[in-house]
Symmetry: C2
Subunit: 196 residues, 2 copies
């Protein structure tokens, strides 16, 4: 058997932390719970994450990164910017909706965690806006979008679609008609991007 | 002195209810508190509002109606639809922001009340969307907006500006740059409305 010190990676700790958070909720979950779930001392956990706050921030970042990574592939695709923009927005909506719908307790837990980890959230939003900026810039260069400031335009698109990715709207994501609402907003934005 | 029965209007009860809610919070405020604030028996209050729930719903509706009324004047104005649309969205944003910023406790109270009064909120949103539909339809008739379904388009505009009127975004309304964000979204939507 391999010694624990070799197998106890940051990733394994984060996996266990997510499981502990799911089970105990964000108010009650402790580092001791995480250590117990892994069968290690809490000192071993602290060697990877110096404080409980650092561990909570890391697990939040990991959760947020899962969404960004799924989207970055669309940004890199070699095809028309409008199609990429539509797919990117739809994939973002679907990813968030799946997170909220498939595992509501974990989603509620991460809503608490994102509230206390402003930096991780800020970086996540900056990352998403940067991805969207790349698509908008590609569209401007190809002449299909009309904008002199792709970054500001990308931010406007991100804000205008907030109803379909901001967790504060999660309750609305399962309502009948939300698909049509999403399409209507995206169609209007795409028309705005095309300019006149 | 006029007898109490003459002066105790529904409006006076609602004013007192708002004041009681502001002072005690939505969890603790009772009909007895309202009656005491008015110097009447709780029976007198119940003659106007049959249940505590009915009273809470009426005070929520009154709070929401204040915003709708301020906006309806813009809809009725006889000038270019694009200007009316921009003013309407800006006035809505400013009204909500003022409510949230000037009296945060009352705003928090009404956030709780709107959560429990789905019907009043639904009617409020339907009213706002109907106002916006009138402006979009006027724009379509004047040839300045391109849409075959003014109601669906109005709803898309309303949803796309949610960041600037939905209470779940209240924390973002005082951040630096929110004005520019608002303008960028509205500019993009207006370009989308114009069509190509």
């Amino acid at each position: 058997m391999a010694p624990t010190s070799e197998t106890l990676t940051a990733e394994r700790i984060l996996e266990a932390t997510e499981e502990v958070l799911r089970r105990h909720g964000p108010a009650k979950a402790t580092v001791v719970d995480v250590a117990r779930a892994l069968g290690v001392s809490h000192g071993s956990v602290y060697r990877h994450f110096r404080t409980k706050a650092a561990l909570r921030e890391a697990v939040t970042k990991r959760w947020l990164d899962r969404t960004s990574e799924a989207l970055s592939g669309i940004v890199a695709e070699d095809r028309d910017p409008e199609g990429r923009l539509r797919d990117w927005l739809r994939t973002l909506f679907e990813a968030k909706r799946r997170k909220a719908g498939d595992d509501p307790e974990l989603f509620a837990t991460y809503t608490v965690l994102t509230d206390e980890n402003g930096t991780a959230v800020g970086e996540h939003l900056a990352d998403l806006t940067a991805q969207l900026t790349r698509i908008v810039r590609a569209g401007a260069e190809a002449g299909s979008f009309e904008t002199t400031d792709p970054e500001a335009t990308a931010r406007a698109v991100f804000h205008a679609t907030g109803r379909f990715h901001d967790p504060c709207h999660a309750r609305e994501w399962e309502r009948p008609g939300v698909e049509e609402e999403f399409t209507a907003v995206v169609d209007l934005l795409v028309r705005g991007l095309r300019g006149r």
